[in-house]
């Protein structure tokens, strides 16, 4: 295992120290492993909390800041945080206007956030929850855990964060969050596996000439394997299932081409050129975009595409100022 770490069991604690040392705009609660804004917004702002397993940096801690999250809970690598952490975060950030929990649709995340919400409600805090389940790689059905929550989470945190900054109330923020969740779709692929530090070896073996289509951000196997294609054919395998799942024409679209952590930026640009050409052919109008590492899977090489069928209001909120380690503009 080739990693720049100390003890594999201390990766989260060690990384939080680095985050605290490098980012003066956040405050880290080391005991509860929660990252807060250094200067919370005062007044009756709805607070926005997210969290999940670590190993997806900059998500979520890197999105704590003005115009985005109020707090993020860091779980162990690929393991959802515990209810205690989320309860601590919820209690701390509540301003009386209520708290939105942004949850990615994994059994663990959903259950732990659920328990935290129950405890917070007990303590008299109003909590609303949005669950992101946007990964079209997963064949959805009533009898499964549903789709995984992936890239749309990033776009949702930005848009909802801006709305909260403007002073929306909890009900309207939750409705907006649900709308974003309903209109986002993602699809990912991997060239190589990630290695969970405590496991000490790659989660899966992918032969030198193969790729995995439909990979999850925790290294969960995807739809199938096949020989590595060129950027153009990989782009087709990301774009097609997304467009087959939801109509993205006739609305402004926000696109994110996301690196899984081990993909050079130059390759993401090559992929983005292919993706945008396919979307243009399909009559999809991308009005805003992100190209880079936003929701990663440790050192995995690969990428994912997220499309959000937005509206003018979402675009306006997208453009609103944001100042976090991971996203920063307009301020």
């Amino acid at each position: 295992m080739k990693k720049l770490i100390n003890n594999p069991d201390n990766v989260i604690a060690d990384a939080l120290k680095g985050i605290a040392a490098s980012d003066k705009d956040v405050r880290v609660d080391f005991e509860n492993r929660v990252i807060y804004r250094a200067t919370p917004k005062d007044g009756g702002k709805v607070a926005i909390i997210s969290g999940g397993g670590s190993g997806h940096e900059p998500m979520h801690g890197g999105f704590v800041g003005t115009g985005m999250l109020d707090a993020a809970c860091a779980g162990e690598v690929f393991t959802s945080p515990t209810p205690d952490q989320m309860l601590a975060a919820t209690t701390t950030v509540d301003n009386g206007a209520g708290v939105l929990h942004i949850v990615k649709n994994y059994t663990g995340d959903v259950m732990n956030f659920e328990m935290a919400a129950e405890l917070a409600a007990d303590a008299g805090i109003e909590v609303a929850t949005v669950v992101v389940a946007d990964d079209v790689a997963v064949q959805d059905s009533l009898y499964t855990a549903g789709r995984r929550g992936v890239g749309t989470t990033v776009l949702l945190e930005k848009i909802v964060g801006a709305a909260a900054e403007e002073g929306g109330d909890l009900a309207s923020i939750q409705a907006l969050a649900q709308k974003v969740a309903d209109n986002g779709r993602s699809m990912g692929m991997a060239l190589t596996s990630c290695t969970v530090p405590s496991a000490g070896k790659p989660t899966f073996d992918l032969p030198e000439n193969e790729m995995e289509i439909g990979i999850g951000i925790h290294g969960e196997p995807g739809r199938h394997r096949e020989p590595i294609g060129d950027a153009h054919s990989v782009a087709e395998q990301l774009v097609q299932p997304i467009l087959a799942d939801l109509d993205f024409t006739g609305a402004p679209v926000i696109a994110m081409l996301n690196g899984m952590g081990g993909t050079p930026l130059i390759e993401l640009y090559v992929m983005y050129a292919e993706v945008i050409a396919l979307l243009e052919d399909a009559g999809v109008k991308v009005e805003r975009n992100l190209v880079g590492n936003y929701i990663t899977s440790l050192e995995m090489a690969g990428c994912s595409l997220t499309l959000l069928r937005a509206d003018d209001e979402m675009i306006r909120l997208w453009d609103a100022p944001v100042q976090s380690a991971g996203l920063r503009w307009g301020l």
């Binding site: 690929f78 393991t79 959802s80 515990t82 328990m115 196997p221």
Partner: protein, 211 residues
Amino acid sequence: MSATEVTLDQLAAWLRRFAEIVEQNKAYLTDLDSAIGDADHGANMARGTAAVVTHLDEANTVDALLKKAGMTLVSTVGGTSGPLYGTLLMKMGMATGAVTELSGEEFSKAFHAGLEGLIARGKTELGDKTMVDALTPAIEAFDAALADGADVHAATESAAKAAAAGRDATTPLVARKGRASYLGERSAGHMDPGATSSTYLFDALAEAIGT
């Protein structure tokens, strides 16, 4: 010697032994989770059970012991197994009362309460390829053995055997819950990690009560 009661000390020994077996099989559990999940089940269970062990001396009653163990799992594990194993033990504790030993029947009642809580939390059914597929037959075998007149120790041995059979039966199944369900048909042919760690719970119990 025929054991009819399970003592507080035996229950503490049980959780201690559970932690040991999990630690010994940490890499194996993670390997199973690598195939159809995210390669953390070994680390999750080892972290949680080790934390449970540090609190075993604090409890003077069975309910306190089990509730504390459950809460410790919930607050140290995270992921899917934290809330589920945590709920199992917490609900077991809630079902026993402030006693210092349990009869076989009382133990069975606790198990059922725990399993029900776990199933409610996980929204699972038997056959979904989860830990429930090992826990359910184990508890049923425990009951059946007691009904057949077996002592508690013998009943835990039956439970352990049934848990193992339940675990083995997860291999051909297509997962319908948890992370493995994302795989669809590709989840078939792999043993479920959570069902595997559940067998350790009964292995540990049989050993703790046997000694």
